[in-house]
Amino acid sequence: MNYFYRSDYFMSHNNLLYIWIIGIFLNIPLVTFSQEKDTFTGKYKIGKYIGEANYTYTFTENDTILDGMFQFQSSNLQALLEKKDTSFLIKGNFENNLPNGSWTFRFNSFQSNKKSKLEDYQYVVNVSGKQRVVNGEFIEGYPNGTWSYVVQEIIDSKVDKVTFKSSIEFEKGIPQKSFRIEDQDQELVGRFLRNGLAHDRWTLYSDQEVDEAEAWNFNEGVLERIRINKRGNSSEIIIFNDIQSQTKTITLDKRYLDILKLKLKPKETPEITNSSILMLLDQNDRYYKSIDTILSDINPVTFAPKFQVRVPYFPLNISEKKSIDSLEFWNQKSKKISADLQQDTQLAILKLSDKKVRLLLDSVDAISEKILDPIQKISAYKNDSILSFISRKEIVDKVWLEGIPTISGLKTEPKINISTQNKSNVFFEIEKLSKETLEYLVAIQKELDKKVSKQRREQKAIELEKKMISQLEYLAVVEKSFQKDTVPEIYVKTLGTIKENAQKKLNKYAALSDVDQKLEYAKELVVCFDALDNIGETIIKLPEQQNEIKEKYQDAVWNPFTATVMNEIVKKRITQAYEQILIPYFLQMVEQEISCDDSIIWIQTVYNTHQRMLEMREENTRKLERKLRREKDPLVILQLFQVSPNNKEQE
């Protein structure tokens, strides 16, 4: 009212100009919001659905904002007539990019009987198949009001039967009042509080039972008990009775079922897992999920029934979380060791003849069953995010019916003790057990390793012997490939020396009797023979390399007196030093039974020398040639050639 007065006041003072300006500013948002809508008509895709879409939208800051009607459909008459058509229709409204107002989803999988008739100027074809129809309303993206989900079987264009039907009432996404889910044989009814928590009695009626077949009793979200009637027998399972701890509200989904299973005694578990109520809830969840898959692309709000339940809550503190991480780590290591030991075929054979081995392996089996597997279960609870919804005692009871075990007498005889005492920090105790178990397994592994290592060493020595023989044979092959008339005798002789050298070493090996010594020496020899093989390969290449150098160090010169082109050797001092000093030096080194360690250096030096020879042809070597004039020492020549020489020789 005051404003009116003020307006009057302004007007009375003839300030109409100000009012007009203020008016313009006030109107700007209106102008902005009253943008024109565009319509899209054409091919469209959401997830696996491809069809024709027709919708209106606005364009703001490069973003397409869905606003107004939305229709997306696909049907293929040709496919229907030929075989089968999977059609769909999605129809609704958007407001500011959120589903709003009434929506319909229809999915069909139809076949035709391929007979048509003409009715009122239209060809009519009868169809049979399955149809899912979902109807409801959204408000700002949240389901609101009653949502129905119906699955029907259609025969000759008529509904033959309803195979599933659910009807749930929402208020802005939160289930309200009561719901009803039914299939062909049974029907579940239940109700919620205004905050979506399950409440009171959820009852399942079945065609096979006169009375209620199953009933879940909730009290403000807490499932207190389940009553099941089967063929006149009634049983009751107490779930959460008299909760002392704090609680947490969670969604009734698979995780809730996992928590329930942990609560139940073993014989009760099948009752729950086979529960018809759960089956119907699960079926309903899956149908809602199919709609959510479509909407998730265009609606940020999850489309789900979101039935709320309350469960006891035991939050994990930091030290407990740390313990859990550690025990997981130790347990993984332990599992690896135990698996290795259990799968070791040599141990499996040795077990038959060695009592001690059998005893140790039996204890590994026991540890695996009584410690490692239960700890693995705790790990799984953690991964399923249910560890904090169950008391520490219940966890221990669930994995160890008789309490946390302890290990004692590790060094002498394995023994697993069970402690029935309840420890204050359960996870810390388990972590300790986990670490001790690993230590114990490592000790067992060492002991068993000792038992098999002798056998393994012998086996290994045999393998190495085979390798050595094949290496020696290769040297013979190399030597054979080389005995040609064109190759100077010295090369063949040097190759022979290598072979003799290898043979000597092999004889020395054969004379050893101690298995350990033999194995060590065999390992050494395999490496050594490899080096000798390489020396052989290098020597075989030498004559060829020398020819290459010879050709490289030739110039073609025109001799006017003979009128012919003649080859002239250039840089003679270099080629002479290479041919007459270095090559004999290399061969001599091999002849003097080159040690295995020096072999690699030898091969490298020969290779580097050849490379340098190729390079020096193009280099200015006048100074070098002068220095080579009277030089006969191969090491000095190698140095002058800038080839890194054999280190040992330099000392």
């Binding site: 006017p560 007196f561 012919t564 082109v565 003649m566 080859n567």
Partner: protein
């Protein structure tokens, strides 16, 4: 070029014809007179100095000795001559040269009162053909010289004569598949030298040289050889008198190439 060479060959054959003719027609002399052979030693250096891709400088210096009564072969210096020319390598199988010669002739007649030393001048050009055959090489050399000579007598005038020379030569490697460094070779050689000019009356056949040498190729740039040569020919003043020589010959062949390396390389094979 080839046509010119053919002309020269025909010309030489025509010159050779009168040799026999002269002998038949000259009534007073019923037979030729052959002088006693003179022994000589020639030390010859042959330089072929490469100066460009296709050009070379021919630099030859010959020291020629002759017997005296006391000393065979090397008794006295007979001639020293310098032969120079610029050569052109047309291909591996053909090259030609053009240049001059200064020959210093020593008076070898101990009883002569005349001058001891007179110069002789020549302009010369030669055409050398090389023919590979199996592992041997054969060569045809045509050399034409225009010479100005004078007698040892004081105040003698220069006489002008032309010399027509044809040489056939082979080089046969002995210890190697080709003529390559470190190869010994034998080289038989025959050269016919004809002459013409006003002073030449009935004595066009100046010399026939038959020479065999044994050589060794040290490097592509250096070869040494030694050989013995028999030669005979008409004396200029009297065609019925034939002089004869036995000449021991030593040869040094050298062919330096002072060009920079980068210029040498593409020139080796010329236009292969």
């Amino acid at each position: 070029m080839i046509k010119n060479l053919c002309t020269y060959l025909v010309f030489m054959l025509l010159w050779m014809y009168p040799i026999t003719d002269i002998q038949a027609q000259d009534e007073p002399a019923t037979e030729s007179e052959f002088k006693d052979p003179v022994t000589k030693l020639w030390i010859n250096t042959y330089g072929n100095i490469r100066i460009a891709k296709r050009f070379f400088w021919v630099a030859q210096t010959h020291f020629r000795f002759e017997e005296t009564e006391e000393t065979p072969f090397v008794g006295q210096v007979a001639q020293i001559y310098n032969r120079h020319a610029i050569g052109y390598i047309y291909s591996k199988k053909f090259n030609f040269s053009l240049g001059g010669v200064l020959r210093l002739n020593f008076n070898t007649d101990p009883s002569s009162p005349d001058r001891n030393l007179v110069p002789e001048w020549r302009i010369w050009h030669q055409y050398m053909f090389a023919m590979p055959l199996s592992n041997m090489m054969f060569y045809h050399r045509i050399r034409i010289e225009h010479r100005w000579t004078q007698d040892f007598a004081e105040g003698s005038k220069y006489d002008f004569r032309n010399r027509w020379r044809y040489m056939f030569k082979a080089k046969i490697p002995l210890n190697s598949a080709t003529l390559a460094p470190k190869t010994f070779y034998v080289s038989p050689e025959a050269e016919l030298i004809m002459q013409s000019g006003k002073p030449v009356v009935g004595s066009p056949f100046e010399d026939l040289r038959l020479h065999a040498s044994f050589g060794y190729i040290l490097t592509p740039r250096m070869t040494v050889a030694a050989g013995i040569m028999y030669s005979q020919g008409q004396t200029l003043s009297d065609g019925t008198v034939f002089k004869q020589n036995w000449t021991a010959r030593l040869h040094l062949y050298f062919s330096p190439d002072f060009r920079k390396v980068k210029n040498k390389l593409p020139a080796i094979h010329l236009d292969d």
